[in-house]
């Protein structure tokens, strides 16, 4: 942890959060939103909060702030105080309170008005056995700013990671946020991502879920600005006994706003995934549109994929809305066809799996991230 004196607002926030940790509980299965994910066996006190290992990569133009969050909190206290936790209140449950109380690392990315950051910026969060990682990423893009941020989560052993990501593209800003979750297969991993778009802003989310023993990964995006747009694309690969619970929501309040959700996953072994897609158009979000598609491919009959698409429309003048969900298996005839051309069964499976994911993978804007996802997915189906 950087040796900085914590600003008063952060100290007070920690104190308030600490007292919340004494009264709040872990999310329970009785809560509908957590019904398919059991946190039984998780004892957060068993993991030791230590300074998080955060690595930042990439160079930024003048005026842009891209720095460790705890340093930023001291140096840019007003800015951080204004945005930290704005979209993700700490009083929801023991996880949100613990994250705020023990916050031990993170990133502030601030892009001033009109500034375009040409190269993608990268953040790596690393954790190790026995650790509790409580991190927070803040992305603030002022009017007409443009930036791409890629996050990577990795680690070894049995640890706990609770991350919050909040993204604020203001009017006309364009933010692309990508992540690659490659936690240890023994880790508990929670990521709560929230976003809100300004007028005519674009916020694109793209991610890959590969690691973790138990994962809860949320993207809840508020498409608030009139004429704003957001796409959300997630691929997931789960093997063995991995449990991945993915939440992907686009909540429209802005008229003429548009969004989509695309989720594709591949499961093997006894893996269990939950994909909750939610396209919501609130009252007064006239002419908004939201479409979602989620598809899962099962490579084993012991694997289980729960697809839970929802559409909530509270405005009768909408441009369009729809959802589709499928869960299927590899086509034996396609496999035969590929094998008849000399590919082994494993090569044929790998080819079909990558083909299945291609519509998502092809739209990943950064080649490096895309190639790595292809490689990770290839390893998953070996």
């Amino acid at each position: 942890m950087p040796t900085v004196t914590e600003p008063r607002f952060l100290e007070e926030r920690r104190q308030a959060a600490r007292s919340l940790t004494e009264s709040l509980q872990l999310p329970a299965k009785t809560d509908e939103a957590w019904r398919r994910t059991s946190l039984e066996g998780l004892d957060v006190t068993q993991y030791r909060p230590v300074p998080a290992r955060v690595t930042l990569k990439g160079s930024v133009p003048d005026g842009v702030i891209f720095t460790d969050l705890l340093t930023a909190a001291a140096e840019h206290a007003d800015l951080v105080a204004q945005y930290l936790g704005k979209l993700f209140p700490m009083d929801q449950n023991l996880l949100s309170a613990s994250q705020a109380a023990h916050l031990n690392g993170g990133v502030l990315l601030y892009v001033p008005r009109g500034v375009v950051v040409p190269e993608p910026l990268q953040v790596v969060y690393e954790a190790a056995d026995g650790e509790a990682q409580y991190v927070h990423t803040l992305v603030i893009a002022e009017d007409n700013a443009e930036v791409t941020l890629l996050e990577r989560y990795e680690g070894t052993g049995d640890y706990l990671s609770v991350a919050v990501v909040e993204v604020f593209p203001a009017q006309g800003a364009r933010v692309r946020y990508g992540y690659l979750q490659n936690h240890s297969q023994d880790a508990w991993a929670f990521v709560f991502r929230r976003g809100v778009t300004g007028r005519d802003a674009t916020l694109d989310w793209v991610g890959g879920e590969f690691g973790g023993a138990l994962v809860r990964s949320e993207i809840v995006n508020n498409v608030d600005g009139a004429g704003s747009e957001s796409s959300l694309k997630v691929v997931f690969g789960a093997t063995d006994r991995q449990h991945q619970d993915i939440v992907a929501a686009q909540i429209h309040s802005g008229p003429f706003s548009r969004s989509d959700i695309l989720g594709r996953g591949v499961l093997s072994g006894r893996a269990h995934t939950v994909f909750r897609g939610n396209g919501q158009i609130n009252y007064a979000a006239k002419n908004a549109s939201t479409f979602q598609r989620q598809q899962a491919l099962l490579l084993s009959d012991k694997a289980r994929a729960d697809s839970i698409p929802a559409l909530i429309i509270n405005e009768h003048e909408v441009e369009g809305a729809g959802h589709a969900a499928t869960v299927g298996q590899l086509d034996e005839e396609q496999l035969f066809y590929l094998q008849a051309r000399g590919l082994t069964r494993a090569e044929a499976v790998r080819m079909l799996v990558l083909a299945f994911l291609a519509p998502v993978l092809e739209q990943i804007p950064v080649a490096e991230l895309r190639d790595e996802m292809i490689q990770l997915m290839g390893e998953k189906v070996k």
Partner: protein, 261 residues
């Protein structure tokens, strides 16, 4: 590079879900020979192709199949492809997300047993595509997705010319093709024709045999080869259908359709 090998099928019996379709079939295709197999619907033509290639749904209950000194029935489908057997599918499967070029490069590498270099492959692909009168953009499209019937068959022929099998089985590749596409199929087969290549052309129609002159013509009925002759046999069938053969041989088969469609 590949040297030919004879395909010798003896007393082959094949069942699908317990129902016997091929009932004791004998066939010998020597390197350099092209055999046509004709027969009415339901005779077992497609079953023969799938069984020789090793589709798991087609169960061989009796008989032997040898490719040179290799026992084909002991190999899985991948091994058969690597050994030099090729089946041109009547209904090739669509694989969205895999480009033709990517697929072909993997297939050629697999059959060769070593990764083919990008440039060598590109050159080879361009040459074969030109031979088969295919547009360059074809290579970038997803495998068979949205292809017309003719394009799918051309794609099968492209695969065959690139993989250079010892024995190719064309399962009604000519069905539904216009004359230009038919000529392209013939061109593909004729380009491989030589002492190291044998082919079994399964067809309903005589038409293709005007362009690929067969050395031997067989008639398949009721799961057996009931008559074998030269190219003139195909012409006779074209004119007279199959009823005369049934009458001649005393075959009573209600499932087989009479005559050429």
């Amino acid at each position: 590079m590949t040297t030919g090998a004879p395909l010798i099928v003896k007393n082959l019996h094949v069942s699908i879900e317990g129902k016997e379709i091929i009932k004791g079939l004998d066939l010998e295709v020597k390197p350099g020979e092209i055999h046509a197999i004709m027969g009415p619907n339901g005779a077992g033509k497609t079953t023969l192709g799938f069984a020789l290639m090793g589709h798991p749904r087609y169960e061989v209950t009796e008989g032997t199949v040898m490719l040179g000194d290799q026992n084909v029935l002991e190999m899985d489908v991948t091994e058969r492809a690597k050994a030099g057997l090729f089946l041109a599918f009547q209904y090739p499967f669509e694989v969205s997300g895999v480009t033709v070029a990517n697929f072909l490069r993997q297939a050629v590498s697999a059959v060769r047993g070593e990764e083919i270099g990008v440039w060598e492959f590109q050159e080879m692909l361009a040459e074969k595509m030109q031979l088969l009168e295919m547009d360059e953009s074809f290579a970038g499209r997803y495998l068979n997705e949205g292809f017309s019937g003719g394009e799918k068959k051309r794609n099968e022929m492209l695969q065959m010319t690139l993989l250079q099998p010892k024995i190719a089985i064309l399962d009604e590749t000519d069905s539904g093709l216009d004359i230009d596409a038919l000529k392209v199929v013939a061109k593909a087969v004729n380009s491989l024709r030589g002492p190291d290549f044998g082919a079994i052309v399964i067809t309903h129609y005589h038409r293709i045999l005007d362009h690929i002159r067969p050395d031997v013509v067989h008639v398949l009925m009721n799961g057996r080869i009931v008559k074998t002759g030269g190219p003139e046999l195909a012409l006779e069938i074209e004119k007279k259908g199959y009823d005369w053969i049934k009458a001649e041989l005393g075959i009573v088969d209600e499932t087989a359709e009479a005559g050429v469609k």
